[in-house]
């Protein structure tokens, strides 16, 4: 089986990323070793892309069985769903690697660079193992490796106490999620007697409803924590911004998508739709994540944290699509279920492309200006037009504007909501069309967010000397950015390229679904719209040629200064004012000296946002765990006789237990 070309490419991919690259980097200290390693990563990712493309086009057989060398059954296979996600990983990995070459060279010492690249390669490997695993053991091993390696990559950037605290929260929440994911697999075990995906799939139909619901819920919690659904997203805005930019791009662009993969694998492939309420649950989680994610994002002025909150928002949109699909499945409307699932999967791919583009753009900005604080940027479009234009493409895509890829998937989700009106149940008939309003609100706010961000960072006047003296990013960074930007534009104008393979993928997951008419009609109409918009713009662009550069009137002052511009905080103020209930900041105004309130020497103002779920959800839980730990500590007396007593008691109780079992 391994003789086939794709098989060989796949084995090369795994061995290169998993064995050769780390070995070369750890053994060789020379510059040539690193170049060789980077070249290997790039060829391996491209080979992975080839495997994925051939996997998407036809239904292939299992590829690789390593059960002989591992204690549990461990095998990898590329079916259509895996192939799609493998394509996603590789398509993002190539540009990110190209971007990372100059980025790591300029940011790290020689010693650290080797380790960073070694972990980078392992990180890619872990994600590839997760999406191609075909046994539970392989999946969980990849899942765990992914968490640990990404934590290592965050710690390589530096190790302040705050960073360690954030990494701790990240690891903690990931392991709670991993426990839930492991529970999903083990719940299948009594019925399937094996963790092989084929056996699980075969067994799931015969399982009692209660167990199926438990599997669904635990998959929802486990993958929801990894995906960053509110309220399980707590780690996301902490961990993503502090990683090096190429790693942030991989974490936000690709790692979150492995959770979507897991949820689709369980919810659609294994369970073939959850219980009747599952669709409503997922829709609710998606709507809450989407809305709160975008509202928290608009209040941020740290570019990377802003992008991290937008990941929460976009995961919300993906889950809106998945929830709709589950709801249609529960109503036995296979065609519409397929449409919603296509929309969700396409948005997954789109988000991977534009979010990694934006994170790389943030990396280029921080490289050029040494800051990612929007209050200190400005005017970068003039200084770094290559980066700026690519970033603008990313902004338009994520804001869901037509002619770019984000719009296509949002449009498909809108249409599947609209199709909900044709269902028979009144509840679904009302709720689904109303979700159009929710998604429209999310979309409108996201557009406002990205006007704010692009405007504050790239337009107007520079707000600091760092921004004023910014230089264009090195060639490698520009190439990485533009590869992703070009992919966004291509899918945006010719969506048929990805929609056709997606339709055949979804027909495997949703049996009995035809080809949704919407996927054909959008592919037909978008090129026309692009032609009209660009044609009309081209004609009027010819109309005007004369321009004169002149100073703006400054209301009588000698010159406008950058302090007169609207800042990002000022821009978002009206929206924050309207949604004040969501933020509820703790404000503190201090006047000094305290005995002269009317003639203060200095006034300090502080505003801290402690989010309401943090107060209501996490604190009681943390307090409970701490108090439990205090109780448990009583067992630890430090007295050796007591410990001997514990051992004796354990022995006696086990023996009694065995006696009664016979």
């Amino acid at each position: 089986m391994l003789i086939t070309l794709t098989g060989a490419a796949f084995v090369f991919l795994l061995s290169a990323l998993g064995v050769f690259v780390p070995l070369i980097l750890i053994a060789g200290r020379a510059k040539g070793a690193r170049r060789l390693a980077i070249a290997l990563i790039l060829t391996a990712s491209s080979a992975g892309g080839l495997v994925a493309v051939s996997g998407v086009l036809r239904q292939p057989a299992p590829l690789l069985d390593l059960s002989l060398v591992t204690p549990f059954s461990f095998s990898l296979a590329v079916d259509r769903l895996s192939a799609f996600f493998l394509l996603l990983v590789c398509a993002v990995a190539v540009p990110v690697t190209i971007f990372a070459v100059p980025y790591f060279d300029l940011h790290y010492s020689e010693q650290r660079r080797h380790w960073t690249w070694a972990f980078f390669s392992l990180f890619l490997l872990s994600m590839i193992v997760v999406v191609t695993a075909s046994t539970g053991f392989a999946f969980l091993a990849g899942w765990e490796l992914m968490t640990l390696v990404s934590a290592a990559l965050i710690l390589i950037e530096g190790d302040s106490p705050e960073r360690r605290h954030n990494v701790f929260i990240y690891l903690l929440m990931m392991h709670v999620g991993a426990a839930a994911v492991a529970a999903c697999f083990f719940l299948f075990l009594p019925y399937s007697h094996s963790l092989d995906f084929g056996a699980i799939r075969a067994a799931s139909a015969a399982m009692p409803g209660g167990i199926r619901a438990a599997v669904f819920l635990s998959a929802f919690v486990g993958f929801g924590a990894k995906a960053g659904l509110i309220p399980l997203h707590l780690w996301l805005p902490r961990a993503h911004p502090i990683a090096p930019s190429p790693v942030s791009a991989l974490m936000s662009g690709v790692m979150l998508k492995t959770a979507v993969y897991g949820f689709v694998r369980f919810g659609f492939d294994f369970l073939a739709g959850g219980p009747w309420w599952s669709g409503y649950l997922v829709l609710l989680a998606g709507a809450v994540s989407g809305l709160l994610g975008v509202l928290y994002a608009i209040a941020e002025h740290d570019l990377k944290r802003f992008l991290a909150y937008h990941s929460v928002e976009n995961i919300g949109i993906i889950f809106l699509g998945l929830g709709t699909s589950l709801l249609f499945l529960a109503h036995h409307a296979a065609l519409w279920a397929a449409l919603a699932l296509i929309a969700a999967l396409l948005h997954t791919l789109n988000h991977a492309l534009f979010k990694s583009l934006l994170f790389l753009g943030a990396g280029a900005v921080s490289h050029a200006t040494h800051t990612v604080d929007l209050e200190e940027l400005g005017g970068l479009q003039r200084r770094m037009p290559v980066t700026g234009t690519a970033f603008l493409i990313g902004c338009c895509s994520i804001a869901g504007l037509p002619l770019l890829n984000g719009f296509i998937s949002e449009w498909l989700i809108f249409r599947s909501f609209l199709a909900g009106s044709s269902l028979t149940g009144t509840k679904a008939q009302i709720i689904l069309p109303l979700m159009v309003g929710i998604l429209a609100l999310i979309g409108g706010l996201a557009a406002a967010c990205f006007v704010k961000t692009f405007g504050a960072a790239f337009l107007g006047r520079p707000r600091s000397s760092g921004a004023e003296h910014a230089q264009e990013a090195p060639l490698g960074m520009g190439v990485g950015l533009w590869l992703l930007g070009a992919a966004c534009v291509c899918i945006g104008i010719f969506p048929g390229v990805v929609l056709r393979p997606l339709v055949s993928l979804v027909q495997v997951l949703v049996p009995g679904a035809g080809v949704p008419e919407e996927t054909l009609s959008i592919a037909r109409v978008i090129p026309w719209i692009a032609a009209i918009v660009l044609g009309a713009s081209g004609v009027v662009a010819l109309l005007r040629s004369r321009k004169r550069i002149t100073r703006t009137w400054a209301c009588g002052l000698p010159e406008l200064s950058s302090r007169m511009q609207y800042t990002s905080t000022a821009f978002s103020k009206p929206i924050r004012f309207v949604f004040a209930q969501v933020y509820r900041p703790d404000r503190k105004v201090e006047r000094l000296p305290a005995d002269q309130p009317y003639f203060p020497v200095s006034i300090s103002y502080r505003s801290v946002r402690t989010t309401s779920y943090e107060r209501a959800l996490y604190r009681p839980f943390v307090e409970l765990v701490v108090s439990l730990a205090h109780q448990v500590r009583r067992l630890q007396t430090g007295n050796i006789q007591v410990y001997l007593l514990y051992i004796f008691l354990a022995l006696v109780s086990l023996l009694t237990l065995l006696r009664f079992q016979r």
Binding site: G379, R382, G388, A399, G400, L401, P402, F407, W411, F414, R415, L418, S421, Q429, I430, P433, L434, V436, G437, A440, L441, G444, L445, A447, A448, F450, V451, F454, G455, A456, F458, L459, G460, R461, R524, V525, I529, V533, L534, A536, S537, G538, V540, A541, R544, R546, K547, R548, T550, T552, L560, M564, Q565, Y566, A570, F571, K573, P574, I575, V578
Partner: protein, 313 residues
């Protein structure tokens, strides 16, 4: 012949747009007992601006000059969606209303960026306020259209109009009244009319659209003004097409189209009179009351969607 009518109605929407503005300005002047300028003045203004040179701030980037062009291009594309003379349009059956709404968002996105690129306080002020209004207006806009689409079981605008044409004019459901109310409110907000925005003001406390375009001059300003006129005309035509399409040409012979054009002018005139009365009678809302105004529109449109389940039975 059908395609000729399609192109003709797109041209009516694009070329007639400044006239709509002129007529409303004249009507408002009359209501305020002024004589008012000629109804052709917006054309003269656009021609005057097109002949001038573009003044560009020294700190701005290419986005500043690109924004009006893309705004104009996308708004022209919107004009190809709306049926005026018969129940069809260039993109009326291929594209749906989601595309229309998002093409408007496309233009607005770039206009806001252009405003921020000017580098002065006014651009940011206008863009920030526009962001608030437009992000809240999108939901009622789409929900109102969704309600009509559910009744018609079609998502393309031409199909929705066709369905409405087959209905009895006296058989108006509550859904239509609610959807019309919300869409009319959204039209006021989206096109920057009273009581949401004052199109005649240049006072920094009140202006939204005017704040955004303050740094623009010459051909760029002409394109922006023309595009916003097209958007306004397109929204009015959309309201007419969705809620009162009766009188559109069913065939495509010359005289049928001519009659349809006359009927359209009459309906547009009624709507314009109504609008100028509203604009003269109502005071502008305080900035932070605008979300309440749009909240009402959202609630009304949500009700329209909910009532469709009753209306379909």
């Amino acid at each position: 012949m059908k395609i000729t009518a399609d192109i003709l109605q797109a041209l009516i929407l694009i070329l007639g747009a400044p006239l709509v503005r002129g007529i409303i300005a004249r009507l408002k002047a009359r209501l305020q007992r002024r004589r008012g300028a000629s109804i052709w003045r917006p054309y003269a203004e656009i021609f005057k601006l097109l002949r001038k040179e573009d003044l560009v701030p020294p700190t701005s980037s290419a986005v500043f000059r690109l924004a009006p062009i893309l705004l104009f291009g996308s708004t022209v594309c919107v004009a190809a969606f709306v049926p005026v003379l018969h129940a069809s349009a260039l993109l009326g059956s291929r594209g749906d209303f989601f595309l229309l709404v998002y093409l408007l968002a496309f233009g607005r996105f770039f206009l806001s960026l252009g405003a921020l690129d000017g580098g002065s306080a006014f651009g940011g002020m206008g863009a920030s306020r526009e962001a608030l209004v437009s992000s809240l207006a999108e939901a009622p806009f789409l929900l109102g259209l969704v309600a009509v689409a559910i009744l018609a079981s079609r998502a393309d605008i031409a199909g929705m109009v066709e369905w409405t044409l087959q209905q009895n004019i006296f058989n108006i459901s509550a859904v239509h009244i609610l959807a019309f109310t919300s869409l009319a409110m959204v039209t006021l907000a989206e096109t920057g009319r009273m009581p949401v925005d004052n199109p005649t003001t240049h006072l920094e406390l009140t202006m939204i659209h005017e704040g955004m375009v303050l740094e623009y001059s010459g051909p760029s300003l002409a394109l922006i003004e023309w595009a916003s006129a097209i958007k306004f005309h397109g929204m009015l035509a959309l309201l007419i097409a969705l809620f009162c399409p009766w009188g559109m040409a069913s065939g495509s012979s010359g005289w049928e189209v001519a009659v349809a054009l006359l009927v359209y002018c009459a309906k547009a005139a009624v709507l314009m009179i109504l609008l100028s009365v509203i604009e003269s009678a109502v005071a502008k809302l305080r900035m932070y009351l605008v979300p309440d105004f749009l909240g009402v529109a959202s609630a009304v449109s949500a009700l329209a969607v909910i009532f469709t389940t009753l209306a379909k039975r």
